[in-house]
Symmetry: C2
DNA sequence: ACTTTAAGTTTCATGGAGCAACTTATTTTT
DNA sequence: AAAAATAAGTTGCTCCATGAAACTTAAAGT
């Protein structure tokens, strides 16, 4: 029972640390939100966010360095710099919206105005969700962690065990998720 | 053109700041991931994460204080404390997975093992997505920000304007999203 | 020419992060 | 029963990151 989560000790192979290296910095998401909202210039960010000048400078540089923002000098006014989201930056939209929605759900009195809507019908979006490979919306109950070598192997075991300790290396953990499932 | 984003100045009514107040702290998401992965005890987090003792103590306390983790003394071993995710904590799953997937997509060499799968078929999950109210997956192109009073009003305007400056107060901004759309 | 604006950099005071050692309460071992 | 080990902290100290304010440089506006 202690051994079952032994493989997790080497679970540095996860995108989260890499993501947090950039976006874990304070202000990173706030700057990103401002970018999503159409702010492009240093002084705009400055007055909008209430961040210190030097910190903003530093954070923008880091976001540019990490390919989340592009830094384009304005052709018409050569004092100005335009900071714009790259594709990599846009790909943070689901993470940002998910965070935002969570904050909204549990925050005291968040009214949200303006509202993020589907352009098609101009109605508010639903909750950002974890999706199966074939498009079903998944809850915590529907998730499991399996060894890479055991992908596709159902619980009843339509495929035989790989080498290694048998019975182990299958579902690694998520016992907490399961417990939450049965509790719900 | 400068005025069109004027309302954003008061855009403190967004869940993001509230979310970041808790989860913007360094280590918060790493602790959360560990929790998702079935770690429950102080010394487990400590050796798994490589975080300093005092910081871990502090962060756990804050997560408990914010209702993301529950702090249960173990009945069988009264030295031990169990830290477990609350429902509020589980609701951070989409945000965490989205971040993780982003880090995986752009991180150097992230292999991801064990793999997060759909329990049903044990196949890897798809990208965490922004969903419309009726279940369609939305991309950045499909999003708009509208005034709360103008919800449901299509671009062609099946509903008449509210009071206030006409033409304004409709789609607030997202010009950057649009530009990215036309560029794609 | 003078002033203003934009985007920074520099300086300095403060707060949070990290390391190591210490504490307290509870098992386990001898 | 006494000694050692374990679990979960706390305390003291150092140092880097954060933040406020002033200064810098270059380009526009008037």
């Amino acid at each position: 029972m202690g051994d079952i989560r032994e493989p997790l000790r080497e679970l540095t192979e996860c995108g989260l640390p890499q993501a947090l290296e950039v976006m874990g910095e304070r202000w990173a998401f706030m700057i990103l939100r401002a970018s999503f909202n159409g702010l492009h210039h240093f002084e705009e960010f400055l007055s909008e966010l209430g961040i210190a000048r030097n910190i903003l400078s530093n954070r923008l540089a880091k976001l540019v360095e990490n390919g989340i923002l592009r830094r384009d000098p304005c052709p018409d006014d050569r004092r100005k710099i335009e900071y714009r989201l790259t594709d990599k930056g846009f790909d943070l939209l689901p993470a940002m919206v998910a965070l935002r929605q969570w904050g909204q759900k549990y925050g005291a009195e968040v009214v949200e105005n303006p509202v993020l809507v589907d352009e098609r019908d101009r109605l508010p979006i639903g909750p950002t969700s974890i999706i199966s490979h074939d498009g079903r919306i998944l809850g915590p109950q529907d998730l499991a962690l399996v060894e890479r070598s055991n992908l596709g192997v159902r619980a009843d075991g339509s495929r035989a065990d790989q080498e290694g300790s048998p019975g182990l290396g299958d579902v690694i953990d998520l016992e907490s998720l399961r417990r939450a499932k049965s509790a719900a």
